[in-house]
């Protein structure tokens, strides 16, 4: 029972790191980025190449995956995404689906279509018992890393000048612009950072979520659920939503395996009906 809770928390934390970049994109620019999972996949494959083929240590692989994915994110944001911000939602959906299709085919071409695994250090494998709870070492690592990231994000958002600029821009981009905040610059930086986090999440999660070229499509729904359910006004909303979904998904698959996948979709639809603006959203200011 507690083991399931533990696994669920690990899964939820992972989802949060994967999806929090998306929550900013959606909240700040009102931009539907279905291709967010493609950045996560990029991070996963970069780590794979570095660790399995080049023989780099696992943690170095993670760090490089974060940096490289952030760079790719910045590149795409500056060259392509920037032209699509003021188009309607339908165009945004089509544009990002196009990117997803391209990424799937390209990765399939370069890396092959089979599922791959990143070699993790022996010290992180296996599980141990603590007060009767079975704790997987790798999952513990995920919780620690993601937990630290969450705290860091929260501190950045609430404590730094950049954080307050970002919050102002999310709340009301027009007024923020009027106050002289460079909303586009804030956004570009956040987009790159969010992509980097997604890449890190993809690399960390390859062990649990699996990694193959269809990754962006398979988990697109999960990311979107986290964001729509959590709302985009704070970091706490998506965080709690991710935990809720992680625990519900793991518990659902364990207790009612026959209906495992229903649980999460049903939760999403019910929540959207009760709270169309998201679970923790304030009344929209726009």
């Amino acid at each position: 029972m507690l083991t399931i809770l533990f696994d669920g928390v690990a899964y939820g934390m992972l989802l949060f790191v994967l999806a929090c970049g998306l929550s900013v994109t959606l909240g700040l620019m009102n931009f539907v980025n279905l291709a967010h999972g493609a950045f996560a996949m990029a991070g996963g494959y970069i780590t794979l190449v570095l660790v399995n083929r080049a023989g780099l240590p696992f943690f170095a692989g993670l760090a490089i995956a974060f940096l490289v994915t952030a760079l790719i994110g910045a590149l795409f944001e500056r060259t392509l995404y920037v032209h699509v911000y003021n188009k309607n939602h339908l165009d945004q959906v089509l544009f990002t689906i196009g990117l997803v299709f391209m990424s799937i085919a390209a990765v399939d071409y370069v890396m092959g279509s089979q599922q791959v695994f990143i070699r993790i250090p022996d010290a992180l494998q296996g599980r141990f018992e603590l007060f009767g709870i079975g704790i997987g070492r790798y999952r513990l690592l995920i919780i620690v890393v993601c937990g630290l990231l969450t705290v860091a994000l929260q501190l950045i958002l609430s404590g730094t000048r950049f954080g307050s600029r970002l919050r102002a821009s999310v709340d009301d981009a027009r007024v923020a612009r009027g106050l002289g905040i460079n909303v586009n610059g804030v956004f570009a930086l956040t987009f790159a950072f969010g992509s980097g986090l997604a890449g890190l999440g993809g690399a960390l999660g390859a062990e649990i979520l699996g990694l193959d070229p269809t990754f962006p499509l398979k988990y697109m729904v999960y990311f979107l659920i986290v964001v729509t359910v959590g709302g985009s006004s704070s970091i706490i909303g998506p965080f709690l939503a991710a935990l809720l979904i992680g625990i519900a998904d793991v518990a659902g698959k364990y207790y009612v395996p026959k209906f495992g996948a229903f649980v999460i979709y049903t939760i999403m639809i019910v929540l959207l009906i009760i709270r169309p603006q998201g679970l923790f959203a304030r009344a929209a200011g726009r």
Binding site: T79, H89, L90, Q92, I97, G98, I104, Y109
Partner: protein, 384 residues
């Protein structure tokens, strides 16, 4: 309103609802394709049949997207349900006659559409995207979890379709199948045409334009949306049933996300809000897909994605031209996907300049057309 003004509006609306010459040409061409296929291209029937049901499916999406402004990423839910219902009815011999089974499959999808329309009504574009997507995924999961009924991941096999109306048996070349699909498409198209030109259809357009204002002039917004969503679900169900009947097979693939995404692309290629968009888009999409698949059988999805990106960036016409150019250059120089992506980024970087150039080109074309108009007296009095 003045009686004279009412009359004017009436006349205008009647004029809009009248059949244009191009429409006759379109359907005569469709009719001709039956004979043409019969004598010259029997092996093309498969793709023609696919175009017919895809066109119907896209028409269904056009009804909600083009006329009511509802974005859906899960239209495959209704398509798939119709498909499975038709296949199951035929397999267990409940309803043998295909046309009747078609209607029943469509009605089943309509019931699902009616039930879920209340969920779709709520919330913003994003919530709608999520809910429609979620419904399609749930449908897929249901079909996956009851293999004793649906055949699970292996698909529903052993379906035999009885002759249409008891007389026309499906032949091995697909001649009957294509004719059948085309007739169904035409009948349902007539119905859709009637719907969108009725007062109901006009009120839908008002809702699409501005829901708040249209509710102020007395249009029951929610009820209109529920109605059109249900009708669209019926159409999608029939399209799915056509697929199941012409292939005598149904599989989980009918619910897939790619199907809903491809459908959006079909409609975007053809254009929304004039009913022919879905049909023209279906023809174009299948031709593109077919030729891409012969050039690059394994990775044709890459080029579809590239096409989508450029359609959004540069509009329908120029986007398609640029994507085609990149494709041609990539084939000519044997470029890798990576290099193509770099080209894409470079074009994104020069976006502003390219847009400026295209505007100049637009102006030049408009001037040329203007000259041609004034030079030919027949066209001169018609306003563009």
């Amino acid at each position: 309103m003045q009686p004279a003004a009412v009359e004017k509006v009436d006349r205008y609306l009647a004029g809009r609802a009248r059949w244009g010459a191009l429409e006759y040409v379109f359907w005569l061409l469709a009719l001709a394709s039956i004979w043409h296929g019969y004598f010259h291209l029997p092996e093309r029937y498969l793709i023609l049949t696919e175009i017919a049901w895809l066109g119907l499916f896209a028409l269904s999406l056009d009804l909600i997207l083009g006329y009511a402004g509802i974005i859906s990423l899960g239209h495959a839910a209704f398509f798939g349900l119709g498909s499975y219902v038709a296949a199951l009815l035929a397999k267990h011999g409940i309803i043998n006659e295909p046309v009747l089974a078609l209607v029943v499959a469509g009605l089943a999808a309509a019931v699902l559409g009616f039930a879920t329309s209340f969920l779709v009504l709520r919330g913003s574009d994003l919530a709608r995207l999520m809910v429609t997507l979620g419904i399609a995924l749930i449908m897929r999961e249901i079909a996956n979890q009851i293999p004793e009924v649906t055949g699970g991941a292996d698909g529903l096999q052993g379906v035999t379709i009885a002759p249409i109306l008891g007389t026309f048996a499906f032949d091995i070349f697909g001649h009957v199948a294509y004719t059948y699909c085309l007739i169904v498409l035409f009948v349902l198209f007539l119905l859709a045409r009637r719907i969108v030109h009725s007062p109901f259809g006009l009120s839908l357009r008002a809702v699409k334009g501005n829901p708040l204002r249209s509710s102020l002039v007395g249009i029951a917004v929610d009820r209109r949306l529920v109605a059109i969503y249900t009708v669209a679900a019926f159409y999608a169900g029939v399209a799915g049933a056509l697929l199941a009947q012409t292939t005598a097979f149904a599989s989980l693939d009918v619910f897939s996300f790619e199907r809903s995404a491809d459908l959006l692309l079909v409609l975007i290629i053809g254009g929304t809000g004039y009913l022919y968009g879905g049909l023209i888009g279906a023809v174009a999409f299948k031709l593109i897909q077919d030729s891409l698949a012969t050039f690059d059988p394994q990775y044709w999805q890459y080029w579809i994605g590239l096409l989508l990106v450029f359609l959004v960036l540069f509009g329908r016409i120029y986007g398609a031209i640029i994507a085609a150019l990149i494709f041609a250059v990539a084939r000519w120089l044997q470029l890798s996907f990576f290099e193509c992506a770099l080209i894409m980024l470079a074009i994104g970087l020069g976006y502003g300049h390219i847009q400026k150039g295209l505007k100049l080109l637009d102006g030049a074309i408009a001037r040329l057309v203007g000259h041609a108009r004034s030079a030919t007296p027949m066209l001169a009095h018609r306003k563009p």
